[in-house]
Amino acid sequence: MSYVPLTMTDLMLAATLLIINAAISWFFRLQLEKSIAIAVVRMVVQLALIGVVLKFIFAQTSPSWTAMLGLVMIVAAGIEVMTRQTRPARGWQAFGLQTATLFFIGIAVTGLGVGIIIGPDPWYAPRYVLPILGMVLGNTLTGMCLVLDTMTETASRERGAIEARLALGAHRFEAMSNVLHVAMRTGMIPILNAMATTGIVALPGMMTGQILAGVDPVEAAKYQVLIMFLIAGATALGVVCAGVGAIVLLTDDRHRLRLDRIRKKR
């Protein structure tokens, strides 16, 4: 088993499939030609760039270069959490809080996975650290976004019920407990579904990649199981942090519901 490198001609050949996309858009007047062009160019440029950057960083095998790219990924994930929400909180506090959460979860879970469990030599080998950090961050941020969106939406809808409890002397965590419950369940469900159905409908991307690269499928499956555990743990931590953080943001120290702290619906 060995892997077949792709040439430029191979990619050009595959790119002809895009003509089908363009033709469909033209035939059905979907007016997506511009969007297709932008998306394709973005994908090619972004992937080519990250390929070059990773090649450079892998060649260095220096902890500081790895840490730097890791930090860029964490900040990008923090920005993504803000932009994906329908009603994000006002101000920079929320952004700082979310990025800090992603930072600690990303470092802790990736550190556990790479440093202790996989144990490559050297322990900071970017070939292991960066892809795993990416997968951990991506899934954690999806969970966090779901929780934050559900919290702000449910709190706005259930405002009367929350304030009824506050008026009866409930602590802010008590008054928000129903909201938190709904939001945390919502945040956890995607990863649970992913674990339950993985391998039946489609092979996960990482496992496919390893198999294409010539790794024994059983070994690839073992890696996938490890990744799933890491992602599930990271998502659970992210969901809890986002839920508790959202309560702190949506209420103040006098236990008032402060819906004025979130932006209007876009």
């Binding site: 929350i162 009824a164 506050l166 008026a167 002397g169 236990h255």
Partner: protein, 207 residues
């Protein structure tokens, strides 16, 4: 005794008034004049500036939950967070005592109402249930926002009787209402809010 000193809420003019134990103060004014905002601010549910004292203790001297145990706000349209009213009463200290049954009887509500789905209970019954819930843990001051808005004359009379009894028993009551006759029947003191609040508003002692 509840004392409000130069309370500033948004663009309302500063408010100064007091409500003694066993006294009922009515806040009168057209819609949008700020009745609800004043009650919510006194319960500390919305941010506001200026001291509010209850028996000499300022609200910021105690946790907000403690303040709201003593100064109890009842919304005009009460919301619930449980399937049945039973769930919302279950966590009160006096749930087992006869207090709940007495309150329900005084309000003309059957005990079986507690186990019915709140979504199919009528608006008027929900409003009376909320008043009963508010009285369960013995607040010192009641802030009632249109307590009979959803009620028929018979139920209104029962609720007014209960409010009178609470005043007699020594609770301070602040009543926001635009029912003139009700204010005549219940209030000792009136606070008149101008339509466009400007100059300092203080309570006038009526009768």
């Amino acid at each position: 005794m509840l004392r409000v000193e130069h309370l500033r809420i948004g663009d309302l003019s500063p408010l100064t008034f007091k409500v003694a134990d066993g006294e009922c103060l009515a806040i009168e004014g057209p819609s949008g004049s700020g009745k609800t905002r004043i009650l919510r601010a006194i319960a500390d549910l919305d941010p506001s500036q200026g001291p509010i004292f209850l028996d000499g203790a300022e609200r910021n001297e105690m946790p907000a939950s403690e303040w709201r145990h003593r100064v109890r706000y009842c919304a005009a349209e009460p919301s619930w967070w449980t399937e049945t009213a039973q769930g919302a009463f279950a966590d009160t200290e006096n749930a087992e005592s006869g207090r709940l049954q007495r309150l329900l009887a005084a309000l003309g509500l059957a005990g079986s109402l507690l186990n019915r789905q709140l979504s199919i209970v009528s608006t008027g019954e929900r409003q009376r249930l909320a008043l009963a819930r508010a009285l369960m843990d013995d607040p010192k001051v009641l802030l009632l926002d249109e307590p009979t808005a959803a009620l028929d004359p018979q139920a209104t009379a029962l609720v007014e009787e209960l409010i009178k009894y609470q005043v007699l028993s020594g609770r301070g009551v602040i009543l926001a209402s635009h029912n003139r006759a009700q204010i005549e029947r219940l209030a000792h003191v009136r606070l008149l809010l101008p339509k466009r609040p400007r100059a300092g508003t203080t309570a006038e002692h009526a009768a």
